[in-house]
Symmetry: C2
Subunit: 258 residues, 2 copies
Amino acid sequence: MRIVIIGAGNVATHLAKALDANHDVVQVYSHTIQNAETLANVLKHAVATNDLSQIYPDADLYIVSVKDDAVASVVDKVKVTSGIWVHTSGSVSIEVLKHKFQQCGVFYPLQTFSRDVEVNMTEVPFFIEACNEDTENMIFSLAQELSKSVHKADSAQRSKLHVAAVFGCNFVNYLWSISNDILAEVGCDLDVLMPLIKVTTEKAASISPTEGQTGPARRGDVKIMEMHEKMLLPEQAKLYRTLSQCIMEKYNIRYEQN
Amino acid sequence: MRIVIIGAGNVATHLAKALDANHDVVQVYSHTIQNAETLANVLKHAVATNDLSQIYPDADLYIVSVKDDAVASVVDKVKVTSGIWVHTSGSVSIEVLKHKFQQCGVFYPLQTFSRDVEVNMTEVPFFIEACNEDTENMIFSLAQELSKSVHKADSAQRSKLHVAAVFGCNFVNYLWSISNDILAEVGCDLDVLMPLIKVTTEKAASISPTEGQTGPARRGDVKIMEMHEKMLLPEQAKLYRTLSQCIMEKYNIRYEQN
């Protein structure tokens, strides 16, 4: 396949490099020509451009991999071409492409990419949506060349995946920042918690987080919970109580005075 | 050292096996004789008992490894002996031992143990407290034989470690159970989130969770946050809002209407 990559950020870069192994990325667009050139230079024979009107009209696949809120305006500015158009955004509907292109879809990797960190693409879950079955088959197969974890998901399902990731990663990271603050008070950092975090993760993956739940709230241990709240800053104590109450409600636990 | 283990649960079992390699666990107590025997049978030459009045009077070290709320009553029932007495609880003060034994301390492994899951003891952080310097040196060295991560922590500090673990593991696990519920709605489970969770964990460990924070709340992306809240069950939406507000307050982010 002859592929055009529109965007030169982290997702665009990792995808372009991975796809360039079996296919030909022929053109890279970025608003900033230096960024387009930086990416084009690590590909076999891609040409850089910063002019959307110069996008090649004859590629097989166009991948729009820009920030969520820039997808619509990029699509607005490009000329209509044949070939498949996809975007890579978790929270942008396929509709943004549908009104302009006959063959279109979504090619969403559920992973966070950093410029200098190698990612094992075969482990990255891809979620595919397309405007018709032929297009779906094409991009599903393409994703399978990169990853062993390829799924179908329409735009509503993709939003669910995103919100699940907010709870499971963004919010989890925030809780770790609280742990880190508390550990700093006793001269430690998150390192001392990592072995326990690792086991918690393994347990969540193997027996499910609902079965694996432990801790004072799960036991309804009011003595410990009250002691903990007293040790915490007011905002931390409030969140401690909220989360403990959520857990107790989930498992129908009542405060046990012991 | 001649060691007596009081308790035959998961912590007692893992510690007894690890200590028996370089020392002699001579006696195992459990309320239930079968449990004491099960553990004693996998040790070099330990004898089982279910009678606290029969605890050997001449061991070098006594490790009380029972449930938090059972430590005091066990200590109450045993005879005074020479030798060092320690308990292994995160949230029980050293005071419970101090009033009875001249040499006493705490030997707290910050890890969760499961009966049939092997634990790499060298990675487990141990937190040590003792009634005097000699005792502290003794049990600190003992912990160093097992683990490369040994720290001092008084009872107040140990409570902080425990509450940090509640945020970083118990509450995190709860958030993963919410992710899992949301993923189930689209026919997936936590597996599809694991690559992202892994990268989030690595980033938290390497650059700190405060620097590594990402997501709609960190960006103040009100459009996405409102969309997410609408997709969630009422209790989930409430927690989503609470956590998003915590993150926005931490980073001084205001809602941005875009």
